[in-house]
Symmetry: D2
Subunit: 326 residues, 4 copies
Amino acid sequence: MMIDYSNFYARIAHSPLRDWLQTLPKQVADWQQQQLHGDFGQWAKTLRLLPEVEPSEVDLQNRVKFGVESDIQPGDAAKLQGLLQQFKPWRKGPFDLFGMSIDTEWRSDWKWDRVAPHLDSLQDRHVLDIGCGSGYHLWRMKGAGAKMAVGIDPGQLFIMQFKAIQKYAPQAITNDVELLPLGVDDLPKLQVFDTVFSMGVLYHRRSPIEFLTQCRDQLRKDGQLVLETLVIQGDEYSVLMPEDRYAQMRNVWFLPSTAALCLWLRRCGFKDIQVVDLNRTSVEEQRATAWMENQSLVDFLDPKDTSKTIEGYPAPLRAVITARRI
Amino acid sequence: MMIDYSNFYARIAHSPLRDWLQTLPKQVADWQQQQLHGDFGQWAKTLRLLPEVEPSEVDLQNRVKFGVESDIQPGDAAKLQGLLQQFKPWRKGPFDLFGMSIDTEWRSDWKWDRVAPHLDSLQDRHVLDIGCGSGYHLWRMKGAGAKMAVGIDPGQLFIMQFKAIQKYAPQAITNDVELLPLGVDDLPKLQVFDTVFSMGVLYHRRSPIEFLTQCRDQLRKDGQLVLETLVIQGDEYSVLMPEDRYAQMRNVWFLPSTAALCLWLRRCGFKDIQVVDLNRTSVEEQRATAWMENQSLVDFLDPKDTSKTIEGYPAPLRAVITARRI
Amino acid sequence: MMIDYSNFYARIAHSPLRDWLQTLPKQVADWQQQQLHGDFGQWAKTLRLLPEVEPSEVDLQNRVKFGVESDIQPGDAAKLQGLLQQFKPWRKGPFDLFGMSIDTEWRSDWKWDRVAPHLDSLQDRHVLDIGCGSGYHLWRMKGAGAKMAVGIDPGQLFIMQFKAIQKYAPQAITNDVELLPLGVDDLPKLQVFDTVFSMGVLYHRRSPIEFLTQCRDQLRKDGQLVLETLVIQGDEYSVLMPEDRYAQMRNVWFLPSTAALCLWLRRCGFKDIQVVDLNRTSVEEQRATAWMENQSLVDFLDPKDTSKTIEGYPAPLRAVITARRI
Amino acid sequence: MMIDYSNFYARIAHSPLRDWLQTLPKQVADWQQQQLHGDFGQWAKTLRLLPEVEPSEVDLQNRVKFGVESDIQPGDAAKLQGLLQQFKPWRKGPFDLFGMSIDTEWRSDWKWDRVAPHLDSLQDRHVLDIGCGSGYHLWRMKGAGAKMAVGIDPGQLFIMQFKAIQKYAPQAITNDVELLPLGVDDLPKLQVFDTVFSMGVLYHRRSPIEFLTQCRDQLRKDGQLVLETLVIQGDEYSVLMPEDRYAQMRNVWFLPSTAALCLWLRRCGFKDIQVVDLNRTSVEEQRATAWMENQSLVDFLDPKDTSKTIEGYPAPLRAVITARRI
């Protein structure tokens, strides 16, 4: 019933991430202990039922694709699809497994396409993705040449989704891409990553300053932060906090203007700060699918004025900002 | 070389604050251990040299006054003044000891006069002052009838100044007023205080939301928060963060509008939120004196336009907001 | 459902035991938290049902006696007896409450009579009894003049029995006698007690050396240890460890000769070491009663040769040794 | 200035020892932090100056030998000898490096020869040596086929001596033999080792029962304990504790008879207990050498009666006992 991270521990022992061994194995063991209730056991069982299939081809540069239809027996294909649907809702993707498409709520590939041109080369880099969900972007980072792409997200279901996809990656790649069941507060100050991504997390934090400091504390000097978060229009003085929900999301705190956010980054020890993308989320990019059947963005906007959320706030506007650690 | 808090521990054992005994004595002992270097030893020695004098009268209702000139021998008066000056700079006051006036940087009595009319009665209440400095307002709270007035502030010098004043309070009062060398992060969730004051702290916190939550966690249900902090003009979306210093102060983070601050309070579990005072700090209220000879407000304002700080921000505007815990 | 130790905390704040506040309230609170299951709730309820009675006389010098028969209404007397019987088995005593005798398994008063002549005067002393059971000897220590008599024993039932007796002590005495739900491993190195008793504990410890060191760490310089434990005949090289049970007791480890034990004490930092009593436990001193209806010593001895336990070991021989801390 | 254990961490991640990662890297990092004073820095520098030499042959089956004289340049040989002498005193050995013999105080090979016939086969086993000193026996365990031979000893100098020897082991072997700077109290209950050695430790422990329990807690079910310690003549009741020093050693506690020790082992959860060797230590086996110039056994015995120590106790008699975990 345990998820085995031994490969990852052995891998990092010889990497710049080695100091992580001082805290990580204990945290993961504690986490495993806490999962012994709830759906975890059933999900872990589902994981073990996944059919063994070898992908004849892999594409991580243009999409996340493992194998083609002819790699898999028809019976296994049906079984694979049935088992993966037990991990619904799938939010970040899409994934292409042996000809089957996991059509997720988000077109995370569109986001990647907007972000990718602004990245310092990921070739041979150690990359961290804070709040990576099911890990879609980890695979794209590996596709862009990263030596290691490590994500953290404390959600049980995300771990399961990631492990299901990881099962079909070739061994060489598997060892370089991992998702760990941690929150950002669990990270020691590693100060070794070349690039740190955090997309869609900042507005969920009660302390954005603390969060930006935590991101900085993972970066080596001159390492790059890639931050994506909800923003509003306005000047350096403009910050929105919703009274309660925002676009039906609970637990949303600070939505700054990009000017305010850039100022925060300066205060937190970043330089070379650039707003590289500003995008009003479209109902094509975030929507219900066969793999995520709940409500989605279209339901969270004011039906009479889609420039507003149903609570009356400005509709979701997402900025990508890059910066480097001083 | 130790400062003795035994009276306080015995006092709270029989009060609603009793659960504090689970953490407080250990924290104070650790703090004492850490003070064994620096000026602490010298200051503690100065404390012990203070002359023994009994005050023939006390006034905590209109000022903080212990004794009159005729209570003290002239030689002792000179000695007292000389010793107390070793604890300069004195920031919060003024104090009136045996006819001698400790003329502090701040006219904290003016602030008290603005705040007092808006307080729920302090009669027989347990009151906490977070970031109380040398404890001027603790005495005024006692003067307003509080059963216990407890302050926290981690600054060594504040402890010394408080202990020097406390030495001249009658025993009955001494046991009811205490300053503990703690920061707000050191507090357990006591949820027992009737009133919590925090004046001049919020803008120094990297996470104002966390801070407001910590204030709430000290209050009993319906207990009153009295919050004083720097604010700016503006609507619910308006928040200033300085690039670096603000009025020459380091470590200043969020200066919200009162509208934004009220919203934050709602999100943190407060009700009955009212802005009861809004005051542009005058150079009469905060200024250099014989007991605080460093620069003061007048030096921190733009000499050509005193509506601005020398960094070009709006000059200090302080709001007092009251609220009650839901 | 909580047992309140506030009086004790207030009491020690002004005593040499004050440093105990750094650990004790937290340990007691944790202990209370852990008791929320099992019989504790029912027992605590029983405690609260005990009738209110004032003792007209008290004798702690010749026995543990609170009140006489005429102090209590006949109905209350019956109620008191019925409730106290819910705390069976009563092992250490006897207690005399309002004319009712709690006839315990042990005649602990006989043991006291053997020990008392060898004690440094307890007048105004702070005394600790490690493993005090229901606390019989604590009362006798108070009767011998101790300023405070504090016992520790982690057993739930002992706490209840003690609290039941304590309820009938006059207030002045109550504040000076307390039983805390701690094991010896929970004690910080207080080094303040004038006298430390430990009777019937050493042979239950896997590490007698560690235990003697812990006893020493509670004593002030020149403070007296009063140690009672099972011993065997023999020289400095003689130590018995039973294969399994000893006199039907589980968890018995080292039974040294008195010569070996004196050597251990020397190694652990004691001086003035004297064997003051050596007593083969009689079936009159330890036996089943109406208040302890289980098997007792007579059942644990070889019926054909009472000089041996039923396991074939030498029958219980108990030594009292006194020593002082270097 | 740090000693790198990354290889070991990577090695155990894929071994039955993997749970050790939950505590070990943090403990080692803390230890390194604490070594930053004293001789450690100088010694670490010495380690780095050791010449690079490849051994053309290795013998761990009959001795600990790395390389022959012709493998090394004469200048390097002199340098090697000079540097290794900085790690004096060398106690456990001997080591044979490129034709140079490190003639240690102890002929640990003689001890090995007495122990080896009684071992369960070490072939492919995971072996732990508690208190292994400079690690001589670790190499012999590897020579006997062990998959991994891990020692623990908190002494700085032992670590240096081990690392100096390890430098000349072929890579394949290096990864299988490690000495960790831990005491037995630092070990979690791993319960995975096939064989646990502890030679020359038990008599230094204040709690032999605790120590035997800790040894058991490292063994898998049916795993073998190999215990060597000082004993005395006598029956199950015989245990010697010296008043102060024993053969000039400080910190010596319990010296049981073999009968008493076997009983202790039974109480601690062992079976198949056998005394496989009993040996009065000779002045040929333990003596001063050019690599250990201090006093040695001959100086610790009574010159008039070498059957006694100079303190008058029986001269050192060492037993080897084997047992298996229940």
